[in-house]
């Protein structure tokens, strides 16, 4: 009988021990910006992220935000322990990854994948940049390349951009600065009105991710003689930002690895958006002009880095990635970034 009691006690203890890890999870909140809220693509990725986080000892409550500004403010105010924001908005929390969306810096999705792999590598030389003050970057997901949508397809060279109006996002100082450099008149806009300004003809050009083509019907603004200049002006990213002290040791690295694993999934959504574009809209630009664009973007990035908008270390990493994938680029001969 005594043996039986001892055995029961031992079994109970063993059972308690096995149950403990599940009970020991910490509860945290994550504010997720997704332009269409709880039904959006980014939010959907984070629903799966939540299951992975559980395995790392954190029970995340996801809160959808359709206004990115409020999501960023709530994160800053400590109302959420983690947030998912676009790189441009996230720049205030980490300038290094906040410079991923810099103009013309990631010309292809292959380059984007390389950059993502480097950021998730766990290499101390990279990881030191991923922590800034109380914040840590917990990974990124691509949201698609951004292009210039024009009303008139004869605007196919850099020189012809001059004198035209362009809708730019007011919270990204780089966009207005870049527009002014080439002689365009920037019209300060926000995410809710840039597309209608383009579609109703009050601006000649808009700068937008490829997903906007279908969702916001940018083809209406391009009719009848407009198009999309086939030159990648930037890559939009969604970034996981963490309040480091609210998460267990090693969480950030696991999170970055997980987000890298979502790359192909994010690409499915991007490819759907790309495939929805009627081929007639693409405006191919001459090789010589592409080189001119490259040079112009490079100069703009150097300028914006000097002004403190972009991070120098990230600019160097991105230049190295570009040159690794295409060593014949002019900038690789005498690198300055």
């Amino acid at each position: 009988m005594r043996y039986l009691k001892a055995l029961t006690a031992a079994a109970t203890t063993a059972l308690a021990l096995t149950v403990t890890p599940a009970q020991a999870v910490e509860k945290r909140t994550m504010c997720v910006f997704d332009i269409i809220g709880a039904n959006g693509d980014i939010y959907n990725i984070m629903k799966d992220y939540k299951t992975a986080a559980l395995g790392w000892g954190v029970d995340l409550t996801l809160k959808p935000y359709t206004d990115e500004k409020i999501a960023a403010e709530d994160f800053k105010a400590g109302q959420c322990d983690a947030a998912v924001l676009t790189g441009i908005r996230g720049r205030q929390f980490n300038k290094y990854t906040g410079s991923l969306d810099s103009i013309g810096a990631i010309p292809t999705y292959a380059a984007m994948r390389t950059v993502d792999t480097v950021l998730a590598s766990g290499n101390p030389a990279i990881n030191k940049h991923l922590v800034s003050g109380p914040y840590e970057v917990g990974g990124i997901a691509p949201m698609g390349a951004a292009y210039l949508f024009v009303k008139d397809r004869t605007i196919n060279t850099v020189g012809k951009l001059s004198g035209h109006s362009i809708a730019v996002l007011e919270y990204d100082s780089a966009q207005a600065s870049m527009a002014s450099r080439v002689g365009m008149s920037p019209v300060m806009s926000d995410i809710t009105n840039f597309s209608s300004r383009f579609n109703n003809g009050s601006v000649d050009i808009c700068f937008a991710p490829i997903a906007a083509y279908s969702a916001l019907e940018l083809y209406k603004g391009m009719q009848p003689d407009g198009g999309i200049i086939n030159y990648v002006l930037g890559q939009l990213t969604a970034q996981v930002l963490l309040r480091k002290d609210k998460f267990p040791e090693g969480y950030g690295q696991k999170s970055r690895k997980y987000m890298l694993g979502q790359f192909d999934r994010a690409m499915t959504v991007i490819n759907n958006a790309n495939n929805s574009v009627d081929k007639k809209w693409w405006i191919q630009i001459p090789e010589a002009d592409k080189l001119r664009y490259d040079e112009m973007m490079r100069e703009a990035r150097i300028d914006l880095t000097k002004k403190g908008v972009y991070d120098k270390n990230m600019m160097t990493l991105l230049r190295k990635v570009r040159c690794k994938l295409n060593g014949s680029r002019a900038e690789c001969v005498n690198p300055t970034e």
Partner: protein, 344 residues
């Protein structure tokens, strides 16, 4: 001589046989087409109105799943089942959506219980069924578009001659938005074009808001909430949705209320979401018996959202009879206070 005439006879008989077979085959075609036309006509004028009086969504969805191939096959013999097709593909998607929702609830429960594998498996199941629902809803939308909007210019409305046409237009358009949402949940497996939302927003202008229970304006406002850039100047999405819900309560088909709740859920607006669910539950006395099924489908949407909220917070779905209540409601006082000592 005899063999010659026999040969001639055989030759003639061969021709008769060929002609006979051709006539017989054409006859089959005629019979098939007639059968198809009768089925389409019967489905539209008798079966659909009859089905709409049901309050059994499961029966509707299973009918949709089982009848769709039979109905649509008559397209091959020249019948035109596309209008009815929009309706049956839409109801068949309800089955897939239900399984997808159950998987989502399993995911939420597993997360709550700390079961990682179970949660991840449930997400896979959810996405598979969401893709099937999206595929069916896209088909419903495409059939509606090919019937009414093939050569339509932007901003133009199709000729919707009967109430049935108007209903198909409304249901097909809503299926389009649903397809988009389910495809999003399925990681974009189906590839539903994203401009469906903007198109549906315009298409809804072609319907009388009062006549269709506030759904046209409610659907438009739900799209404005998803993509504010599509809203007309000075539009107030929430006020429009509230009005849409109210019209639905007055008319006895509470789809406007469901749209309101879906929008609040998507925006993460907990206060509005609870209000929408409470209002829906409180307005269950005046249901139009001719459109009971439509109201039942609205109820399924509301219950699905309520179940997600309950499961996330308690690990269990909405209790029986508990729609319109929440786990953290203050307990109602059960009559005047009784001093137990008085009874002893």
């Amino acid at each position: 001589m005899g063999s010659l005439s026999m040969k001639k006879w055989l030759q003639q008989a061969r021709w008769v046989l060929v002609v006979g077979v051709v006539v017989a085959l054409q006859g089959c075609g005629v019979i098939y087409k007639t059968t198809g036309d009768v089925l389409v006509s019967y489905g539209r004028s008798e079966m659909l109105p009859y089905m709409l009086t049901y309050n059994d969504a499961r029966m509707a969805c299973i009918s949709g799943e089982s009848l769709t191939p039979l109905l649509m096959s008559f397209e091959r013999v020249g019948s035109k089942p596309s209008k009815l097709g929009t309706m049956v593909f839409t109801t068949s998607a309800v089955c897939a959506e239900k399984i997808s929702l159950d998987a989502e609830l399993r995911y939420l429960r597993a997360v709550k219980d700390g079961q990682v594998n179970e949660a991840q498996d449930a997400r896979i199941e959810q996405k598979r069924w969401a893709a099937i629902a999206a595929e069916r809803q896209k088909k419903a939308y495409d059939l509606m578009m090919s019937t009414y909007a093939e050569n339509l210019k932007e901003g133009q409305c199709p000729k919707l001659k009967t109430d049935f046409d108007e209903m198909v237009w409304m249901v097909g358009n809503i299926s389009g938005v649903e397809a988009l949402l389910n495809d999003g949940a399925a990681d974009g497996q189906v590839g539903v074009p994203r401009d469906v939302a903007a198109k549906v927003e315009r298409h809804m202008k072609c319907l009388d808001n009062e006549k269709w229970w506030g759904v046209p304006m409610g659907a438009r406002a739900a799209v404005w909430n998803l993509l504010p850039m599509l809203a007309p100047p000075n539009a107030d999405a929430w006020a429009t949705l509230e009005n849409s819900a109210k019209i639905g309560f007055d008319k006895g088909v509470r789809l406007g209320s469901a749209l309101y709740a879906m929008s609040a859920y998507s925006k993460g607006d907990d206060k509005r979401l609870r209000q929408a669910i409470r209002d829906f539950a409180a307005n269950d006395k005046n249901i139009d018996p001719n459109y009971l099924l439509m109201d039942t489908l609205a109820g399924m949407i509301i219950q699905g959202i309520s179940d997600r909220e309950w499961t996330q917070n308690t690990g269990k779905r909405t209790p029986v009879g508990g729609l319109g209540t929440f786990w953290d409601d203050q307990p109602k006082s059960s009559g005047p206070a009784v001093d137990i000592n008085d009874l002893l």
